[in-house]
Symmetry: C2
Subunit: 381 residues, 2 copies
């Protein structure tokens, strides 16, 4: 019998109809006044999203491209940097830092946990020459939230240190205002809370970062931030831009800014909280001790392979993500970013209960759903 | 905060992505071999849907247009006809019969009930000259199913009587095979279980009906069945066809025939049953004593205006239909036809519970949802 497939993966995410419509149009040429106007509008909307008047640049790349740009533009070979390495994407910072020959202080953290503030203080007193702190605002692999404000304050106290934040799954979920949080470099990607297909990344950089970029000895061409910033402030790009994604970005930012950034954050908080409470009510354990509102990681019950459970969920129409690396088969992840509202949470929880039942887990059907409904009702007032 | 709108109205209904994509294309001209091929494919698919090799014709009109064609083509002024008048659409048959000056035997039935077989036998023994029986297979206003097979057998026993069936909300929900059911004229519309926008209607007619059409003295031009049948068998239409709806019809029929008509009927049965059981579990009363699987009509609880409840449901993202005429404010209707699967039922029931709670109805949240989940699980096996 016919079953719809519903994406609940933390990227790609379901797209709003307005975005689909914008994507399904004939292409326009990018070296035209028409595109320049669209591009400048997108740029301005991104500035509103990040509450800044500084340059916010776009690359035709996935988020990892903007992560590479963050390393290649704002550092010099041999600079010492601190990596908050708490998951798959923390590792990616480390790999990038290694490729560009930075000296790495690797603060490895058990997956599912966030950093310890005391430990950070120890590290900076041991290495006062740290030139950069790299962190995920939301570590997608472990669905963990890391407090960036604290790190921003630390970076400011140091002599010449930039806070570099992967906001790929936090921008559009939280209110991420780099100037208030002390973020010097912030990157995000299109296929997460911006509700677009993959292929567009975004990079913000502070005045301090700009100064550093002008002194960097790193090789970079495609991801040259200052070159792009200059071009993009005039509504053009150094290389061919992701035309239809930028057109669609204006649609998704219209929705996001139309909802209001406080409402947006609140909605994601409620969706994530309803999911967490429901999952606990079912008797399952959360992966993260510091859960992010962009996705919820959950341990599969003892004796049940998470990937088998995911297959069962797919039969009911729900595609959720699995675990990465050593978490493979142990956890599954349900996204909250994307074209979702409260009742989508209720639906996926109902599906989770039914999939668990069908796979042989002892469960009182409806218990988790009720909890999700209650959390939503309490929050709606 | 952002809330998605979900259509649960018995027409229009949510469209499958494949249909949306087909509709969003540049128009092609209908007097071309290209369109002829598409048209003949649609015609053949409709024949498969109705398990017939006879003519199945399409009009660029809403379902009511095909209802008018059913009266204007197959009868003569003064013919006596029996109207199974059990709701808003039963009344429509009566209005049409009256406009075309047929002699009406008005079998008025309380809304929410189906006909009584004994009463039918009485009527035909009193009026053995009845030339037509008009019925809704699924009366949308009261969400009531009428057995057409019984009426088909009656029609066959009479001297020269056609069974005319409004299948607007039954075709695509049930397996409706006119030749097996004894239906002489069957109409349906695009914006119901065919999962298309409004504007296309479909009409099947039997050999017996064809013979009658050739003798009819009724005025008709746009809705001339024999003229269209002749044209359409060759892949053209007498007047401009609903080009993009016909293109999209091929997409929706690909989905429908791909699922299989037995699976399609079974899925709708399960969705409707899960809804009915859940609604009863919540403590609400069904409108119909003979419920249709295309939509479920439910009485609002005492003291709660159904239209207020609908407004509350809309705040949570669910658009359901209200009652018509004397049922206005008393009932609401949840559709099962359209681009729906099992988990949509769970979702709308969850929304119903939450809307009831918010409007002040004493309700144990989650009870109905659990029931819907259980019915689905039992049926999935």
């Amino acid at each position: 019998m016919f079953i719809k497939e519903r994406l609940f993966t933390p990227g790609p995410v379901p797209l709003p109809p307005q975005v689909i419509k914008a994507l399904g149009q004939q292409i326009i040429h990018h070296r035209t006044p028409e595109f320049t106007q669209i591009f400048l509008e997108a740029r301005e909307n991104l500035q509103k999203l990040l509450k800044t008047e500084r340059d916010v640049i776009m690359f035709a790349s996935s988020g990892t491209g903007a992560m590479e740009a963050s390393v290649a533009n704002f550092f010099r070979k041999g600079d010492r940097v601190l990596i908050i390495n708490a998951g798959k994407f923390g590792q990616r910072w480390k790999e990038l830092a290694s490729v560009y020959q930075l000296k790495i202080v690797d603060y490895e953290i058990e997956w599912g946990k966030t950093y310890d503030k005391e430990r950070i203080l120890q590290i900076i007193s041991e290495f006062p020459d740290i030139k950069g702190i790299f962190v995920q605002h939301s570590e997608t692999s472990t669905t963990t939230y890391h407090d960036v404000k604290y790190l921003g304050d630390i970076a400011k106290k140091l002599d010449d240190c930039l806070l570099v934040v992967d906001g790929i799954t936090s921008v559009g979920v939280y209110q991420v205002y780099p100037e208030e949080l002390g973020i010097d470099v912030l990157v995000t990607g299109s296929q997460k809370a911006l509700m677009l297909p993959p292929g567009l990344s975004v990079l913000y950089f502070s005045e301090k970062a700009e100064e550093r970029a002008s002194k960097s000895d790193m090789p970079r061409y495609y991801f040259d931030v200052l070159k792009e910033a200059k071009k993009q402030s005039k509504g053009q790009t150094a290389y061919t831009p992701a035309i239809n994604l930028i057109i669609a970005l204006n649609e998704s930012l219209k929705l996001i800014l139309g909802e209001g950034l406080d409402n947006l954050e609140e909605r994601h908080r409620i969706m994530a909280e309803a999911t967490r409470e429901a999952v606990k009510e079912i008797g399952l354990k959360l992966l993260s001790e510091s859960p992010s509102n962009s996705a919820t990681g959950v341990y599969s019950p003892a004796g049940i392979d998470a990937d088998q459970l995911r297959k069962e969920l797919l039969k009911l129409g729900f595609r959720v993500a699995g675990g990465q690396d050593h978490l493979k088969g142990k956890i599954f992840r349900i996204a909250h970013m994307g074209y979702f509202d409260f009742m989508d949470v209720v639906q996926v929880i109902a599906g989770l209960e039914m999939a668990l039942k069908r796979i042989g887990y002892e469960i009182e059907i409806g218990k988790g759903v009720r909890k999700a409904q209650e959390v939503i009702l309490e929050n709606l007032g």
